[in-house]
């Protein structure tokens, strides 16, 4: 009998906890609720925190104008698809009306499917995989694996666009006669760029002499990969990866006296801010990025100054994309006019699906353009991709300089 009572008590406790979980009442809506899931803890936390910080700045700025009010919440997904769906559901319980999706790609693939089923508008700052959008043909087989999710849009470049653009850029500028590629083959982002890069490179007859890979578990030692590139005599190394790994590759190459040109993609952005990294090693590294924290225009300067003041670090492109997401939604709502009632109040109680229809129509309409930190006159197609061209940057004297 003792065990029964014990089991019963534990079950009761569990049920009580669950009911606490369920019983959240509805309050009067006083703002449009925007939510996002991102890695606030764990290995990918820098990206999630950058997005969270920047989006908060944008929301504060918009709210300070006194017009339409936004409320922003970022839930932690630890860069895991299962937890991302939990986080997304938590946001739904919170009353999310617009979703910024997820910060990273694998969680983004999961949450975009959920948002598609719920018909909540989804504009992701940085989940760049084609699986997030759906409707994109597989680079190898040519088949469409996931149907287009009509409510999903990206603020960043789609992965294949970056790979193609990089190959084209290298070809046009005649940057390298022999090319080596190192990529992370258990990572969505890195593999996505690699596949399209190699397809384009074959088409352009670029000479790829060495292709080596690494994984999450082997990302601390690059001696084999760098030696392979060196032995193959490559004079340009293409690094489609995030900057922590790239920094180790640069260090390794430097130690072994190997000095080719290095070419990165938008994940390379942030390498100059990496703690403990000798930035002189990054001299001459080329990268494609939509955002340059050292740009001289007023918008960027203002944003960077605010971000530095609040969080004591230089914002990266994830932050810039998130900032742009909030402003793009603000602009798509006609700076709030679209939701204005006749008596001058705002229709904050609008359902997520109605708002979704409204935003999809606005984002895909021919005359909607948005200019922000990461590009001028951006437009979105019905396929969900953004029209912005990656800018070629080169690191000189510890700063990005346009090429």
């Amino acid at each position: 009998m003792k065990k029964f009572v014990r089991i019963a008590a534990l079950l009761m406790a569990l049920l009580m906890a669950l009911t606490c979980f369920t019983g959240c009442g509805k309050e009067e809506a006083t703002a449009i609720k925007i939510g996002i899931t991102g890695p606030l803890t764990g290995g990918a936390a820098i990206y999630g925190n950058a997005v969270n910080n920047a989006a908060k700045i944008a929301v504060e700025e918009i709210n300070a104008l006194g017009g339409i009010q936004f409320e922003f919440l970022c839930e932690d997904d630890v860069h895991d698809a299962e937890k991302a769906v939990n986080a997304y559901n938590t946001l739904k319980d919170w009353g999310m009306q617009v979703s910024l999706g997820s910060v990273t790609s694998a969680p983004g693939t999961a949450t975009s499917a959920e948002a598609n089923a719920d018909h909540i508008f989804y504009l992701t700052p940085s989940a760049s995989s084609t699986d997030v959008l759906g409707g994109v043909a597989n680079a190898v087989t040519g088949a469409v694996d996931i149907a287009r999710k009509d409510n999903v849009f990206q603020m960043c470049f789609m992965d294949p666009n970056q790979g193609e653009a990089s190959a084209q850029y290298i070809y046009d500028q005649k940057l390298g006669a022999k090319i080596a590629v190192i990529y992370k083959n258990d990572d969505n982002y890195s593999t996505g760029i690699y596949n399209s890069f190699i397809a384009k490179a074959t088409e352009l007859n670029l000479n790829v002499v060495s292709t080596t890979t690494f994984t999450e578990d082997t990302k601390t030692d690059f001696s084999v990969q760098v030696a392979a590139a060196k032995d193959a005599g490559a004079d340009l190394v293409f690094l489609p990866m995030y900057y922590e790994s790239a920094a180790l590759i640069l260090t390794e190459a430097n130690e072994t006296g190997y000095a080719p040109k290095f070419f990165g993609v938008d994940g390379m952005d942030g390498i100059l801010g990496l703690e403990g990294f000798d930035t002189t090693l990054a001299e001459g590294v080329m990268l494609l990025t939509p955002f340059n924290a050292d740009a001289e225009d007023a918008k960027t300067k203002d944003f960077v100054a605010k971000y530095q003041e609040k969080y004591n670090e230089v914002p990266n492109q994830f932050a810039a994309d998130a900032y742009d997401c909030i402003y793009a939604i603000y602009q798509a709502l006609d700076e709030g006019e679209a939701l204005k009632n006749e008596d001058g109040t705002y229709n904050y109680a609008i359902s997520a699906t109605d708002l979704c229809d409204m935003l999809i129509e606005e984002f895909t309409s021919a005359d909607f353009t948005y200019s922000g930190l990461t590009g001028e006159n951006m437009t979105w197609s019905a396929a969900g991709t953004v029209s912005k061209t990656p800018k070629g940057m080169v690191i000189q004297n510890g700063a990005y300089v346009g090429m």
């Binding site: 669950l18 979980f21 803890t41 190898v140 578990d217």
Partner: protein
């Protein structure tokens, strides 16, 4: 002896009853609309974790061998199940039937993997199983990250390391590091409940059977068991393979409850998480595993309001539970409350 038997079978019946009551209550809550979407979304994964914990408890608690790669079997089940479900999408229109077939396929593949590991390793004495299963989990992760499977009108196409599939239309099911990007969620809470019940029936009946007593005899004293003629490898393998098969079925259930699954999800951390469920719930104590798995899966979500301190609090709760369940004073206190008739244990 009779009394002992009665007590353990009462325990078993109470576990069945507890699971059924919990299922009915949650199902009623869900259909009445009184449940948050956050909890609703977790129902099926929680069922999968419960089965994972139960099956690992069979290896660790009943057989007494340490396995550190249980997530590997889950992975085998998840991916084989997802591929089966996707390949049968047009042939078997009923989602329930497809789910059942997928879970059976997942269980079979995981059982095969279990035999593969168990046959050489379980002959050895010592902690070799822990080492080999640890490696197994990592190997499965590597294999799955390099596996490309597509389906078109001509059937399944498979390639390894590089995606070289020649397909006419159709679609990719498994796309290397992207895992299964476009899963169809067909797993239901009912299916999860049925799987838990089946798992309990299998484990309880195994433990009560002649084979089960042989397995436990091996756990308690291998030499003594051998001396009375128990075939060590056979019984160890039996428990281990059943455990692997159940984990495979749980993996299929889990995989088919997600929009997307990637190989890195089933890493060492997941194995340890399941082991934590088992240890916290009590070795060999099935109802303990069920409660620990459910509570510890839902807990991080309940703690969301603490934002960045969430995982810190989660860790503290774990330590406190561990201390509390092992503290003689607290144990005595609960024993006094729950049992007036005096201590039996």
């Amino acid at each position: 002896m009779k009394k002992l038997n009665f007590k353990s079978s009462l325990d078993n019946w109470l576990t069945y009853a507890g699971v059924i009551i919990a299922f009915v209550v949650l199902q009623l809550l869900a259909s009445a609309g009184g449940m948050s979407s956050a909890l609703k979304g977790q129902l099926v994964p929680v069922c999968a974790y419960i089965v994972m914990a139960l099956s690992l408890n069979l290896t660790v608690g009943v057989l007494g061998e340490l396995s550190l790669g249980h997530a590997g079997f889950m992975s085998v089940g998840a991916f084989s199940g997802a591929v089966t479900a996707a390949a049968l999408a047009s042939a078997v229109p009923s989602a329930g039937l497809r789910l059942m077939i997928a879970m059976i396929v997942g269980a079979v593949f995981a059982a095969l993997a279990g035999v593969l590991i168990g046959v050489p390793v379980l002959r050895l004495n010592g902690d070799y199983l822990a080492i080999v299963t640890l490696a197994f989990g990592e190997i499965i992760k590597s294999i799955v990250t390099n596996l490309y499977i597509g389906v078109d009108a001509n059937g399944l196409h498979i390639s390894f390391l590089k995606n070289t599939l020649q397909m006419e239309g159709g679609k990719m099911i498994m796309n290397g590091p992207m895992g299964v990007p476009a899963n169809t969620k067909i797993a239901t809470f009912l299916a999860g409940f049925i799987l838990i019940m089946i798992t309990l029936v299998i484990i309880f009946n195994l433990v009560k059977s002649r084979s089960g007593r042989a397995i436990m005899a091996l756990r308690d004293n291998r030499i003594a068991a051998e001396s009375v003629g128990i075939n060590v490898t056979k019984y160890k393998l039996m428990a281990f393979v059943i455990s692997a098969a159940l984990a495979g079925a749980a993996g299929s259930l889990f995989g088919l409850s997600q929009n997307t699954i990637v190989a890195t999800k089933f890493d060492f951390n997941t194995s340890i998480l399941v082991l934590v469920f088992v240890v916290l719930g009590g070795l060999g104590r099935m109802w303990g595993s069920i409660i620990a798995a459910a509570a510890l899966t839902i807990l991080p979500e309940l703690l969301r309001e603490f934002s960045e301190y969430r995982m810190l609090i989660y860790a503290i709760v774990l330590i406190l539970v561990m201390l509390a369940t092992n503290n003689p004073t607290i144990k005595g206190f609960f024993a006094k409350i729950f049992k007036r008739k005096g201590a039996e244990e």
